[in-house]
């Protein structure tokens, strides 16, 4: 009993701190000051830190992009996606093949990669989004495995070895090959992903996903095309993953099927759910947890997944809204 009381007290304290922060952030001046300060810090960080720190931060930005994409599908539209790594692979391999085999310029490969992801998203989403929700989880899981096994067994994808010799992007005459270059590139991508996520959330489209998540039948009765709305979420989310995949390929210059396993899909999902699905700061927080915890203590190594899985279970049981709290609501009593 005493234990639960303490637990309650701790979570309440955290919540009240964050809710106070919400209140402060509702003031535009404070909000922009903070955001500028944070951005300024992240911009100068590469000059102050080691390569190692930059690698980790680049990885964090990369996670933010991918997880915000997955968040559109899982958090906004409420669809459980267990094969997200496949869409990420679609992007990476489209860029990889076009760049290493046909010598196409990196920037030109991006539209192709998005196009491929949209096609794949439609092909999977269109027939299955009408089915029961939990069937979609299995279909995406199956699709993830099919994609991985296919790229493992085809010649054009380089089989189990993968692709090498993917060209570096060139921007304003500079070849991007330093870790700091990629740091900034993924930083910009992460900002873009956050921006697009916000705009989508506060819009007709974002609301339609929320309606469907709350009550599918009522949403349909209000004139919302449930299948189309979900398909939008699925395709937009997949495109995020594909773009991240393209940049990932350019950063690594070599990709292999080992980067697109089921376990990667699960890690992305964990980041989305731990912080708080559907909430942008929550997802960013989730990414920080998933990326930084294993780095802070190298000993964790093999226990990493187990720890995250236990956290995931505890979150689902005791705090399904995620670590990040929901906004306070107005009730009739107030």
């Amino acid at each position: 009993m005493a234990e639960t009381k303490i637990k309650r007290k701790v979570t309440d304290t955290i919540d009240s701190v964050i809710i106070t922060l919400f209140r402060i952030f509702d003031n535009k001046v404070y909000r922009y000051t903070f955001l500028f300060a944070a951005a300024a810090f992240l911009i100068v960080l590469p000059n102050l830190s080691s390569r190692f720190t930059q690698e980790i931060m680049t990885n964090l930005f990369f996670y933010v992009v991918v997880c915000l994409g997955l968040n559109i599908i899982v958090g906004y539209a409420g669809l459980l996606h267990l094969g997200y790594a496949a869409f990420f692979a679609v992007g990476a391999y489209t860029t990889g093949i076009l760049s290493s085999r046909m010598g196409m310029d990196f920037w030109l490969t991006i539209p192709f990669s998005v196009f491929a992801a949209v096609l794949a998203g439609l092909a999977i989403g269109f027939p299955t989004l009408r089915l029961r929700g939990d069937y979609l989880a299995i279909v995406t899981l199956g699709f993830g495995e099919i994609t991985r096994l296919t790229i493992r067994n085809l010649d054009i994808t380089g089989g189990a070895v993968g692709l090498i010799g993917i060209q570096r992007p060139v921007l304003f005459g500079i070849t991007l090959n330093q870790i700091s270059h990629f740091y900034y590139m993924f930083f910009i991508l992460a900002i873009l992903a956050i921006f697009v996520s916000y705009r989508l959330h506060d819009s007709r489209m974002g609301r339609s996903w929320e309606y469907i998540r709350e009550d599918e039948d009522a949403a349909a009765a209000m004139g919302i095309n449930v299948t189309t709305s979900r398909l939008y979420a699925f395709v937009i989310g997949s495109s995020f993953g594909a773009v991240a995949g393209s940049f990932f390929a350019a950063k690594m210059t070599a990709i292999s099927p080992d980067s697109f396993m089921f376990i990667h899909s699960v890690m992305f999902l964990m980041a989305v759910v731990l912080g708080g699905m559907g909430k942008i700061p929550g997802v960013v927080l989730g990414c920080i947890i998933v990326v930084l915890i294993p780095e802070i203590s190298r000993d964790i190594g093999q226990y990493r997944l187990l720890i995250f899985a236990v956290m995931l279970l505890i979150i689902m049981l005791y705090r399904p809204q995620g670590i990040w709290p929901d906004r306070p609501t107005i009730s009739a009593k107030e």
Partner: protein, 304 residues
């Protein structure tokens, strides 16, 4: 070998693999039927069953050997332990989530699956382990077809278990209660059925059967691995869907069909073993799209 002999051999292989799928699929189907939960952790339960058998045999071998008698004891003990594990998981992780949104309980199941297989991964150091059963490798011929004693015993055991389950479901009140709960949990509660007890029994039975399949797979393949539950989990789910999820004879039928399909599929030159899994998953997806209610299921009209 002549073509018809190859086909007969594959028929036998298909039935054997299919009966493993069937045993695991039953658990999926029962749980889905009663609480509409897609239990991602079920494949891992199968894997835990195999490891349980391994531990028992390792301990028991010096005392009573590792032959059939000791295997049978090990099977029964593992089935009981793993069945109880299923009940505990149900109590700790799923029961508090029964009223939560579908997405939450699915993620919970995923978390349980990750916990189970990561724990075994750490304990087994992530390596393949030899399953220490010492069973006959003698084979005999019928015509030119080769059979091993082990395979025959395994297939008989699998069918026996399915038969016992079938009797249990059709001849006891339990089966009736289970169907009633599947239809309307709240009303059952009002009618004085101990809903939670029935759900717990369902998890016990489903997990025990999966454990049995795990041990049999250990005997059959000779090695076991912490990740062995992932693939069979997916395939057993496919089997459950093929038969019509929630329908227990459907799960058995689906398992056998899928086993046969794979056995014959690998004989098609283009597919071979490389594309075998791609073939199964593609089949699963197409099946879900075109026949989501399965072979034995009926289209349901969802109540508003």
């Amino acid at each position: 070998m002549a073509l018809h002999e190859i086909l007969l051999q594959q028929l036998f292989n298909g039935l054997l693999i299919g009966s493993f799928y069937g045993l695991v699929a039953i658990g999926y189907s029962m749980v889905y039927g009663i609480i509409k939960l897609l239990n991602f952790a079920h494949g891992d339960i199968y894997m835990i069953g195999a490891f349980c058998g391994l531990i028992f045999l390792t301990i028991a071998a010096p005392v009573i050997g590792a032959g059939w008698p000791s295997l049978i004891v090990g099977l029964l003990i593992s089935m009981t332990l793993v069945g109880l594990l299923g009940v505990v998981i149900q109590r700790v992780a799923y029961r508090p989530m029964l009223k939560a949104p579908r997405l939450s309980i699915l993620i919970t199941a995923l978390a349980v699956s990750m916990i189970l297989y990561n724990t075994v991964m750490i304990l087994s150091a992530g390596r393949y382990r030899v399953f220490p059963a010492e069973v006959g490798t003698e084979s005999f011929f019928i015509g030119t077809l080769r059979f091993t004693e082990t395979r025959i015993i395994l297939i008989v055991a699998a069918f026996t278990l399915m038969f016992i389950l079938h009797m249990f479901i059709t001849r006891t009140m339990y089966g009736k209660a289970m169907r009633a709960i599947a239809l309307d949990r709240d009303t059952c509660q009002l009618m004085g059925i101990d809903v939670y007890k029935i759900i717990a029994i369902t998890f016990f039975v489903g997990s025990a059967l999966a454990a049995a399949a795990g041990i049999m797979a250990g005997v059959y393949y000779g090695t076991i691995h912490f990740f062995m539950g992932f693939l069979i989990g997916l395939k057993a789910f496919t089997a459950a869907v093929i038969g019509g999820i929630g329908i227990i004879p459907g799960a058995m039928l689906g398992g056998l069909l899928l086993g046969l399909l794979e056995a014959f599929g690998t004989q098609i030159p283009f597919i071979g073993t490389v594309w075998k899994d791609v073939f199964s998953f593609a089949f699963l997806i197409l099946f879900l799209i075109f026949k989501p209610n399965g072979l034995l299921g009926r289209a349901e009209s969802e109540r508003m």
